[in-house]
């Protein structure tokens, strides 16, 4: 009888492990496609790009230094960005942190139309037309949202659309305690 206990225990253990992982994938707590960013805790990559809203202006990461900001990577071609747009507008209204947009591989003209129609949650929007800055930030799919501390460290990265839930669970705690 005891001989069968080992295999049975191993089976239950493995089965349990599979069940836990599957349930976590099922309820969206675990995304197997999500790639952990090596940038977390490191200095945010610098950039200097033309502004989408005013082509004669620059959006420069050095000018953002010293205060916390959110960097949101989006594009007018990205359907999920359209979905999250109202959430960003709400965050811009209620939270005391500027959202900087990184308009990824997009035409500034189209982006301006998009923002004129749907509203502009961004304090500034940088035009990353050839996607070079996005590579520096390790972006692999829009939308992606980063939180950068006052000292210029990447605190957190959200892959996929921002939701009120994710904002209040993952970002807000860092906003309040995270003036690091």
């Amino acid at each position: 009888m005891w001989r069968h206990l080992g295999p049975a225990l191993a089976f239950i253990l493995l089965g349990g492990l599979f069940a836990v992982v599957l349930v976590r994938i099922g309820n969206g707590r675990l995304d197997v496609r999500e790639i952990q960013s090596p940038l977390i805790g490191k200095a945010a990559p610098s950039f200097r790009l033309a502004s989408v809203t005013d082509g004669s202006q620059w959006v420069d990461s050095r000018e953002l230094a010293g205060k916390m900001y959110v960097l949101n990577v989006w594009g007018t071609w990205c359907a999920a960005c359209r979905d999250e747009h109202p959430v960003l507008l709400e965050i811009a209204r209620s939270a005391h942190v500027p959202i900087i947009g990184l308009d990824w591989k997009d035409e500034p003209e189209t982006a301006r139309e998009f923002l004129a129609t749907l509203g502009n949650p961004y304090a500034a929007v940088a035009a990353d037309r050839d996607g070079r800055v996005a590579i520096d930030w390790g972006v692999y799919g829009a939308p992606e949202t980063f939180l950068v501390s006052a000292s210029g460290q990447v605190l957190i990265k959200q892959v996929g659309p921002m939701t009120p839930q994710i904002w209040s669970d993952r970002f807000v705690p860092l906003l309040n305690g995270g003036a690091r």
């Binding site: 790639i35 960013s37 090596p38 591989k105 996607g131 070079r132 972006v139 692999y140 799919g141």
Partner: protein, 156 residues
């Protein structure tokens, strides 16, 4: 088995053979499919070789099961451009791989390095073989100790 059923099963076998033949033919035609990355990046064979090798070692992060060389995703094209420019600028293969992992993590490499995060991944095959050998050894030892074993090595 009746004659008609025999004929039917013979037909089944022949269509199975035809299907297999078709599958083999398609397999042989596979390499003829044109590559995504058609442009020759470098005129000299050495740098072109490095370029092809590097892009086939980097994972396309959007599609995740394709290499940067095989993918037609926008990001893969951007990463190919990055590799091309870095080779042209005289950077070493290691420098280019470091550049990629600093931004995208070890996941971007199809051949991840031995680090604290990957040691379980790399040692898993060896561990599994060891576990298998140990359990085989245990079973053999137990069987050989059984009372009805032929060589009379019976234990009470």
């Amino acid at each position: 088995m009746s004659a008609s059923r025999l004929r039917r099963s013979a037909r089944g076998v022949s269509s199975g053979v035809a299907g297999l033949g078709l599958a083999l033919l398609l397999l042989l035609l596979g390499p003829l499919a044109r590559a995504i990355d058609n442009d020759v990046a470098f005129a000299d064979a050495l740098r072109q070789g490095r370029y092809e090798h590097l892009t086939s070692e980097l994972r396309c992060l959007v599609c995740q099961n394709q290499t940067v060389a095989d993918s037609n995703a926008d990001l893969a094209a951007d990463l190919r451009r990055q590799v091309r420019e870095m080779i042209a600028a005289g950077q070493t293969d290691d420098a280019i791989k470091t550049y990629m992992t600093e931004r995208y993590g070890d996941f971007v490499l199809y051949d991840p390095p031995w680090t604290a995060r990957t040691y379980l991944l790399w040692s898993a095959p060896v561990l599994l073989v060891l576990i298998a050998l140990l359990s085989v050894a245990r079973v053999i030892r137990r069987r050989s100790r059984m009372p009805w074993s032929e060589d009379g090595e019976a234990t009470p």
